[in-house]
């Protein structure tokens, strides 16, 4: 069931896992991790509209996508913290995680790489494996200034691949503002050059994200063509931990009014009490997992 409450809980899960990981970063027990605070509605909404057999390919901000697609929490946290019990035995870390169990086959640190890889995967699924599964690839608006993105769009359209292009548009390239890398008002208008249909929506409204994805993916399964959803969103955290932010505290506070959790809460009729219980329960579940991961072994060169 993908009712709003379920989606809300999933977003809270992402938020709380990242909050907990942030404490690890501050204590120096984790590297400079990349979080999705404020962007959770996109991964949760998109993945809710996909079938379990559909694939996702992502950029380096992977934690939200992993949880949204249904990753088991223990090996996920273990991978992020570099433990041998992680999905990739601690070899991949948060930025290169891959998890075939939930069909999240590829994520990559370098901006742009995920897009042509997703095109190749979508091609193989449709024209070699002959399935009706689709691929959703997540990338930021900054990625659309990279040559890899444009080369990939070219091939995606020519080869008619079933690829949902999910642009998480937060108006930032790391710590650089939009005016330095995006010459157009929107990402969507760039797609005209490739004849790829695009649609911009509020990426902080999880319900809207899910419905837009359902519609896009439904058509794609039938006709196999790429489609871009431009999700306008707000990154409420720093680009990565340990790095300053180009935005002022006031600016971020203003953006926080659009926090996807608040948007969902406004739509739902839950009492403060119920809400608090949801957060408490999820926090308890997470704390237990973190405690277990702490006892897990580190990888050694021999174990790999």
């Amino acid at each position: 069931m993908n009712d709003l409450l379920t989606l809300y809980k999933r977003m809270v899960m992402v938020r709380l896992v990242e909050n907990k990981l942030q404490e690890y970063c501050f204590r120096g027990e984790a590297g400079d991790l990349h979080f999705s605070k404020g962007q959770e509605a996109i991964s949760v909404g998109v993945c809710a509209a996909l079938k379990p057999t559909d694939y996702i390919v992502t950029h380096h901000r992977t934690i939200a996508h992993e949880i949204a697609k249904g990753a088991a929490l223990h090996p996920l946290i273990a991978e992020i913290l570099g433990k041998a019990t992680g999905f990739n035995k601690g070899l991949a870390g948060e930025m290169h995680i891959n998890n075939p169990a939930i069909r999240h086959l590829f994520s990559f640190q370098l901006v742009g790489t995920c897009v042509p890889v997703a095109v190749g995967l979508a091609y193989a699924l449709r024209y070699y494996k002959k399935t009706d599964d689709v691929v959703a690839v997540f990338f930021g608006d900054a990625c659309t200034s990279n040559g890899q993105f444009h080369e990939a769009m070219n091939i995606a359209k020519i080869r008619k691949v079933p690829l949902l292009l999910v642009c998480e548009n937060n108006g930032l390239a790391g710590n650089i503002r939009k005016e330095y890398y995006l010459p157009t008002e929107t990402v969507s208008e760039r797609m005209d050059a490739y004849g790829i249909r695009a649609h911009a929506i509020d990426g902080n409204d999880v319900k809207k994200v899910m419905i837009a994805t359902e519609i896009a993916v439904g058509g794609m399964r039938q006709w196999s063509a790429p489609y871009l959803l431009e999700m306008n969103t707000t990154r409420l955290c720093h680009h990565k931990q340990g790095q300053a932010d180009v935005r002022s505290k006031e600016e971020i506070a203003k953006l926080a009014e659009r926090d996807p959790l608040l948007v969902a809460e406004r739509r739902m009729s839950v009492t403060e009490e119920t809400k608090e219980k949801i957060w408490r329960d999820i926090e308890k579940e997470i704390d237990e997992v973190f405690a277990k991961v702490k006892e897990d072994p580190w990888p050694t060169w021999d174990s790999n």
Partner: protein
């Protein structure tokens, strides 16, 4: 010697397609892709185009995305052979070859991906030999066959190996000695990282690959010189056991390479053999190859890019003492 490389080594190219065709018949996952693939295969292996048209994917002139596309195909269960045409174009796709391919393999599991490319005749950006760069990157195998039978055997192996292989085709090699019919009756199983002794000898071990291997083979034959000649076949992994055994017998090593010697394939071999065979060596290990110079367009200047036969013979004579 034919100056036009198109006619020089048809046999090596035929041998590569021989291996690909044989494997395609039994393995439906093999797909050929790259710039102008349909046209290229139409000319080089029309039977493959006719029999497997849906497994040939012509891609745009976008080298980097093409290799990443191949990684995606491999994730989807296919075995991609991506053709980057001329070796110079590999610089356009260094990111996907050095970042995407090996790092994806490292963090999940190795998959069969073959990246093909050829060495052509020369001009500033047509004729560079970037093969040594790739030997530095963990997770990549680098193969440069010197003759058709090796080309066929190595392509067969690469297609059966769960790993990324850079497969180079040296179009500057002239080959008139291999009988095309041998390819129908004879398939060498060649593991990656196995060199071959082409000529038995004593007093001096010579090591080479591809174009200069062929040059040396003809030169030693013509001059009737009994130096040992080792064909590396794959420049990563390198068959050090074979070289060490030979150098321990002959006491001297000359490496002749078709590429720039500075920080090249020979530099690593010279260093390893100096460490491993120090006591057996009568002379310091010597390297001969191309100068660290951009390749000029005029053919009249190309002789300077490879060591002359005279120079090779002088150095070999000195080392064999």
């Amino acid at each position: 010697m034919s100056k036009d490389p198109w006619f020089r080594n048809r046999l090596i190219r035929d041998a590569i397609y021989h291996a690909i065709y044989d494997r395609m018949k039994v393995d439906p996952s093999i797909h050929l892709m790259g710039e102008g693939s349909h046209m290229k295969i139409y000319f080089d292996a029309p039977h493959i185009l006719k029999e497997f048209p849906h497994r040939i994917i012509t891609l745009p002139i976008s080298e980097d995305a093409n290799t990443n596309f191949a990684v995606g195909m491999a994730l989807g269960g296919a075995k991609p052979i991506v053709d980057v045409i001329t070796a110079d174009f590999l610089y356009r796709t260094m990111d996907s070859i050095c970042n995407t391919v090996p790092k994806e393999h490292f963090t999940s599991s190795p998959k069969t991906i073959i990246i093909r490319s050829e060495f052509m005749t020369a001009s500033p950006t047509t004729g560079q030999r970037p093969e040594a760069l790739f030997t530095h990157i963990p997770g990549l195998n680098v193969v440069v066959p010197s003759n058709p039978l090796d080309a066929r055997g190595l392509m067969d192996t690469a297609l059966e190996t769960k790993a990324a292989t850079l497969f180079f085709e040296d179009r500057m090699i002239e080959d008139k000695t291999t009988n095309p019919e041998d390819m129908d009756t004879h398939l060498d199983i060649i593991p990656l990282g196995k060199g071959k002794i082409r000529r038995k000898g004593h007093k001096l071990t010579t090591v080479s690959y591809a174009l200069t291997l062929r040059m040396l083979d003809l030169l030693l034959e013509r001059e009737n010189l009994e130096y040992e000649l080792i064909d590396l076949r794959s420049i990563y992994p390198v068959d050090y056991d074979l070289i060490v055994e030979s150098v321990n017998r002959t006491g001297a090593l000359l490496i002749v390479e078709p590429d720039v010697t500075y920080a090249g394939v020979g530099a690593e071999i010279a260093s390893q053999i100096s460490e491993r065979c120090f006591k057996a060596l009568r002379h310091p290990v010597k390297r001969l190859g191309a100068p660290r110079t951009t390749i000029p367009a005029s053919r009249s200047l190309h002789d300077y890019m490879l060591p002359s036969e005279k120079r090779i013979l002088e150095v070999a004579e000195e080392l064999s003492k």
